[in-house]
Symmetry: C2
């Protein structure tokens, strides 16, 4: 594979972005029926030219620092809607002064030492795919983006213990490529897979592609190694321990605020051989919810249990009957359980129908490119996700739809919902919201919708995030969701590990 | 069920303890062939008479306090070998000054407030089944045992969300009895099940009876409510969240040192209908290990995967052929996977043999009574457990056997090993050690063996505890196992929640 340029402002590889003509085709074919858009396309931004950095790299680490405008601009934001639209408009008021790309753990240590002495904030950065403002510093003083992508070594693939020792900067495809010759896989496939790193997954407790069972990155962690401003922390490399609070739990979800995850020991597995899939249509949404609940409470473990509400089914699975769809799948030894699952769904009026053409998984990984095209077409387009108990879900679903509609200034928003994960006690619904924007006002429009929707989620028993992390955008609701005393213990941990408060200030604590 | 008296010095119900004659029969039939014992039986201790308490209960809470010798003596220790033998000898130098039995959460709050003002240490106590010195205060000043068994309300059995809301003092059988009419079960069965509480399970991250899948109490926790000296902490009642570090993780395994768990929301399930079991003999221990490893790495999930080493197979499964035994079981939808599992074990030379007579589970729950009889027969008898990677296990097994043998002053110790839990990256071996004691020197004899064995475990990549918790007995190895900085964050959490340091001093931090 030759080198392919990454987009500095949008998702993924620059050469995979939709060009102007493709954007216009998308508008004509897919959007006009639903949304009032004029079909004009915001041009891609010119190369950025930023003011000079306020920091000078230390000579000993000069080789690891970048200070050019393109490097700094491409590390200024994550990849949320509000990031892409701001970059598209050249709106980059607070880019990193420097980008540091350590080659080794000692480089990380040296960079933190230097930053603490220099009074610079440090924002750890994996693939930069945050959609919650996790990698965007919003404070005053100078800051450094600590891009960990050169920590890319896979030191050991241990087939006896089914463990891989991997540095934090390894991207999804590189990890799977290293495991493939051993017949192994991590089986962790977040939507950002191609452009996110092991360290980013761990720091944000990333959710995988599978609906049940081991899918969140937490499930695959045996041990971690973390560099903090006060020294290293490493957890024991044992399959399980009951010795005190879980030794990995403080850093899983620490979002760069407590330390820099530099290495992990992750559990890998053989690729499952068998697979069994089905698509089910239901007479109504309530029946589909009851069926999905019974299915996940039955002790069966579908790898895929993606319930699409009628709007999502129409837009993303071509369902013209206005009915919900359940995309069901089992893998490995569990493939034998599909008939038992179908028996459950049939009891709730579910009917097996032909599978829609095309690969969801392929479309899933391409969606962010389409999103960028929609942004260029002037739409406000973003996703919101949560998890709640089954008994709260119908009210939460209705409240999110109502909140998005009434907060959309155009008075019209397309809101769709699917389940990404399901648990015995409740689903993890994932909403996509699309509404026309107003050139230059896209960010406040989205922020208004986001606030209304987040309030609706909180009021209906949902968490502010099931797998997108907290970052800066979710802070107000995160702070409400957790007991003040629990948050005080996090602040105490932060003071212990990062007394200078240099690590990702504004995130979590 | 009428009231049955609990033994104040030994395990469980007083009327189930083996009497002198039964102890002698046990010696003749089961022990003489293996161990040099003289057959004399230590008499049960007389009722204790303790010096007056150094504390006076606050009048407002007088109804919740007990100060009589029997109440205090029965709360002085847990139920480890060293606890039972000391109580048997009337060796109770540091019993609680008072036992407090709060009726409600406000009582817990008031008790903590009073204790902090009175300068008394507080040791939270569930069923008192600790085997690691978790409920035995070893400091100087006065102390109160906070017995939570009156927090025994099961407020809600929620069949829609499959969640039960339960107070911390509920014992295993009471919880299952409340769930049974709903066709539900928690499916968490530690060996202490009958005499341990929900709060104790949570505070010690108790391990259940099943070998794989959801079995540790952590797996069943949706949310917790904890009273700390600085106020309450409650985690969100959602099926899953990626918002920051896991909100339950700080208190799971906190062993009463960070707060008093008063209530929990636990995930329950339907009782599995199907079951499939098999017993397998192997030509050698190495083959049995390879088979077990492949089995657990295959993606099959046996509920039971108890590999007995040849000594354990001989003593506890009547195996006279000197070969290892694997007790294998699948439940629920997974029952169909037994043939696939047998195919794997056969490839390693495993042969299915008739199942030994009797119920392991029944014997398992009765073992602690037998243990008490062995103590009265003058034996040193205790268990040690850990978890390590597969690649470390054979050396760890050999090292534990050698360490126990060479530390046993009689020069002879019976050491057996079985797996209680198995993970893709390694097993959780559980060792039973029996050796002749010397009247009055039992505790130092065991402490010497324990130290040697724990050193052997640590040197061979094992954790100091897979599911018995840290307590006071495991502290030196726990402190070595974890990074000093991680331990500093625990101390910081402790200072935040319990600045007076009244909660279970000496445990964890």
């Amino acid at each position: 594979m030759g080198y392919r340029e990454r987009s500095w402002w949008g998702w993924g590889h620059a050469d995979e972005a939709l060009d102007d003509a493709a954007c216009r085709r998308l508008a004509e074919r897919a959007l006009r029926p639903w949304l009032p858009i004029d079909g004009s396309v915001i041009p891609p931004p010119p190369d950025p030219l930023l003011p000079a950095p306020r920091l000078t790299p230390p000579p000993a680490l000069a080789e690891t620092f970048l200070g050019d405008s393109m490097s700094r601009a491409s590390h200024a934001y994550g990849k949320a809607f509000r990031d892409v639209v701001r970059a598209l408009h050249g709106d980059l008021p607070n880019p990193p002064d420097l980008v540091c790309r350590p080659r080794s753990e000692p480089d990380v240590v040296a960079a933190l030492d230097w930053a603490e002495a220099a009074g610079a904030a440090v924002v750890p950065y994996g693939g930069g795919s945050s959609v919650v403002g996790g990698v965007e510093y919003r404070g005053e003083g100078p800051w450094v983006c600590l891009d960990l992508s050169r920590l890319s070594r896979i030191a050991e693939v241990d087939d006896v213990n089914r463990v891989v020792r991997v540095q934090a900067g390894v991207f999804g495809p590189a990890l799977e490529a290293a495991l493939e010759p051993h017949g192994l896989t991590l089986r962790h496939f977040p939507q950002s897979f191609e452009f996110s790193t092991v360290g980013g997954w761990l720091a944000t407790r990333s959710g995988g592609h599978f609906a049940t069972g081991p899918t969140r990155i937490d499930n695959f962690v045996e041990a971690l190694r973390v560099v903090t401003p006060r020294g290293p922390v490493e957890s024991p490399r044992v399959p399980a321990s009951g010795a005190g609070p879980d030794a990995n739990a403080l850093f899983l979800g620490s979002e760069g605020a407590l330390g820099v995850i530099v290495e992990a020991w992750l559990r890998v597995q053989r690729k499952p051989a068998a697979r069994a899939k089905a698509t089910i249509a239901f007479p109504g949404y309530s029946q589909s919810l009851a069926a999905t609940r019974e299915l996940v409470q039955s002790g069966l473990r579908p790898t895929n249990c993606r319930l699409l509400d009628p709007m999502e089914a129409m837009l993303n699975a071509g369902a013209t009957d206005g009915r919900a769809r359940l995309m069901l799948g089992f893998e490995g030894p569990d493939a034998v359980h599909l008939p038992a699952a179908l028996e459950i769904v049939r009891a709730h009026g579910g009917v097996e129908i032909p599978r829609p053409p095309g690969s969801f998984r392929e479309a899933f990984f391409r969606l962010p490119y389409t999103r960028d095209a929609l942004v260029r077409l002037g739409l406000v387009v973003e996703t919101v996700e949560t998890a709640c108990r089954w008994s709260r879900f119908e009210a939460l679903h209705a409240a999110v739809l109502a909140a998005a509609q009434s907060a959309a200034p155009a008075g019209v928003a397309v809101v769709t919902c699917r389940f990404t994960h399901v648990y015995p006690d409740g689903p993890a619904p994932y909403f996509t919201i699309v509404t026309p924007g107003r050139r230059g006002a896209e960010v406040p429009i989205w922020d208004g919708i986001k606030a209304a929707v987040s309030d609706a989620i909180a009021a209906n028993g949902g968490t502010i995030t099931h797998h997108h992390a907290v970052g800066r955008d979710h802070r107000p609701w995160y702070d409400e969701e957790h007991s003040p005393l629990l948050r005080a213990t996090l602040r105490a941990a932060k003071r212990t590990l990062d007394p200078g408060g240099i690590l990702n200030p504004g995130v979590l604590v």
